[in-house]
């Protein structure tokens, strides 16, 4: 308890130092206020955005796109990953292809998707889904295919069917990999949601900061960045908490 309090006080002190330096740098014109607003101006922009409801609707749009894309991607990735993972021939055949797609910038498929499907909301969701598929897919393949040989023997001895092997041994074995893959996928879908919004001009935080930049309204940019950072922080720590809860059996066993 004592340590938590200490950490809190030190944390607040660190944050105050940063805000103070930010305030001094901008107030005394070391950094041009055209580009970097004062902390007060940023807070004012945040307040205005939330009071008028504009910032709320933009945040909702971005978060919705990010979560929809992530859930779709996770479902598809886990399904395909299990299929590929339990089927060695498929794994061997698909590995070079996956190796090639993995380092491909997910955003590079945006122009291709625009050419094929046009700038529609479905295209945007499709790009976010497709782009955030890979981390979870690769993690699931890895998790399912690295079942300990002894467990496979046990399954054979028990006369388990393929399906119950997947359900009772393959998937539980892959859960840690799947969860960390999903955490990475969420980062991907977050980035892609922002980029596709910017490119397609859809309502959302990405478009909002882009427009604020064109109008040289730096307080609005910083307000948007602050909200984005908080979305990232909250979503990431929520998933980490879920991961810890679901994997508790591991630490105990």
């Amino acid at each position: 308890m004592r340590r938590h309090l200490d950490n809190f006080i030190i944390g607040v002190a660190g944050l105050s130092v940063i805000i103070l330096v930010w305030h001094l740098l901008t107030t005394y014109g070391v950094v041009s206020r055209i580009f970097v607003p004062t902390p007060l101006a940023t807070i004012e922009a945040l307040r205005r955005g939330f009071a008028s409801g504009v910032l709320i609707s933009q945040t909702q749009a971005t978060v919705l796109l990010m979560i929809q894309g992530w859930l779709l991607a996770s479902a598809v990735a886990i399904f395909l990953g299990v299929l590929i993972g339990v089927w060695p021939a498929a794994r061997r055949a698909l590995e070079p292809l996956l190796e090639f797609i993995r380092p491909l910038p997910a955003s590079a498929i945006i122009p291709v998707a625009v050419a094929l499907f046009g700038l529609t909301p479905h295209m945007i969701l499709g790009v976010v889904t497709f782009g955030s598929l890979w981390p979870t897919l690769l993690a699931t393949v890895h998790g399912v295919s690295t079942v300990e040989p002894r467990l496979e023997e046990v399954a054979r001895a028990l006369g388990m069917s393929r399906l119950s092997f997947i359900w009772k041994i393959g998937l539980p074995n892959a859960v840690p990999d799947i969860l960390s893959g999903m955490r990475l996928s969420l980062t991907f879908s977050f980035i892609l949601a922002i980029v596709t919004e910017m490119l397609a001009g859809e309502n959302g935080l990405g478009t909002a900061i882009l427009l604020a930049g064109r109008l040289f309204r730096s307080p609005d940019i910083f307000a948007g960045l602050l909200v984005l950072a908080l979305i990232g922080l909250v979503s990431n720590s929520m998933l980490q908490a879920v991961e810890r809860r679901l994997l508790r059996w591991r630490a105990n066993g």
Partner: protein, 257 residues
């Protein structure tokens, strides 16, 4: 190399390419948004010959390397400072955790406003994107340095600077190299993304222009080239890592990966 060659994988890729080619020829679809592999190869060779592909590649790689140099340099420096001063690490934990999750692409509007189009806006974003992972890995590497080595430094009465350059940096080198492998991939991906979203140069822009000028063959050629480049870069860094760490024996290598 020959015996581990993934034949079924190569077969699958060739099969898909042939299928794609045949499907487009047989169906007789005339489209401005997609092209068969044969046309992609022709477009690729043409872009290679007139130098536009190499120019774009050079622009993207240069921006990625400058950005990585700035981001990773600042990241190592901050990581060492935070690793050596636990109080500072505790004080800046929350801001670091918050800024780390901010997607670098969200900085495009700000950077565009401050620097305009060109290299500066691109490498500033790449630097931001590579700074945080480097900081965190460098901090962990410094914390993981053997206590006995620090005792040696104290016994030798080394000053703070030579303590860092002679003891701490060499001891954390394996982990820093791993950080480099991670961040070089990030640098390329972020660079291409910035070019697609805003910056009119490099491979990402080439991709967008090919799409907008209805040259699907060139667009797909650029896409494939970006993928190949990422794969080659990763291969190169893995190889460098192996060479650098070979003379350190197996133990440090295992702890690094």
């Amino acid at each position: 190399m020959g015996k581990n060659w993934p034949w079924s994988g190569i077969f699958l890729i060739v099969f898909l390419l042939v299928l794609w080619e045949v499907a487009m020829r047989v169906s007789g679809i005339v489209t401005d948004s997609f092209a068969p592999p044969s046309k992609v190869v022709v477009a690729f060779l043409a872009a290679l010959k007139d130098g536009s592909l190499l120019k774009a590649t050079g622009e993207t790689l240069l921006a990625a390397l400058i950005g990585l140099g700035l981001g990773a340099g600042a990241g190592v420096l901050s990581g060492v400072v935070l690793g050596l001063t636990p109080l500072a690490a505790r004080a800046f934990r929350a801001p670091v955790e918050t800024l780390r999750t901010l997607p670098s692409v969200a900085l495009i509007p700000l950077s565009l406003m401050a620097f305009g189009f060109g290299y500066a806006m691109e490498y500033s974003i790449i630097a931001f994107a590579t700074f945080w992972p480097t900081l965190i890995l460098a901090q962990a590497a410094v914390i993981g340095v053997d206590r006995q080595l620090l005792d040696v430094a104290r016994a030798l009465q080394l000053g703070p600077i030579s303590r860092v350059t002679k003891i701490i940096l060499p001891a954390s080198m394996p982990r820093l190299v791993v950080a480099l492998r991670l961040t070089i991939g990030i640098a390329l991906v972020v660079g291409v993304t910035v070019e697609i979203a805003a910056n009119p140069q490099g491979l990402g822009y080439g991709l967008v222009i090919a799409q907008q000028s209805l040259h699907p063959d060139l667009m797909i050629a650029f896409l494939m080239w970006v993928g190949l480049l990422g794969w080659l870069l990763n291969r190169a860094v893995v190889e460098i890592e192996r060479r650098l760490l070979r003379n350190r024996g197996g133990a440090s290598m295992r702890s690094a990966t």
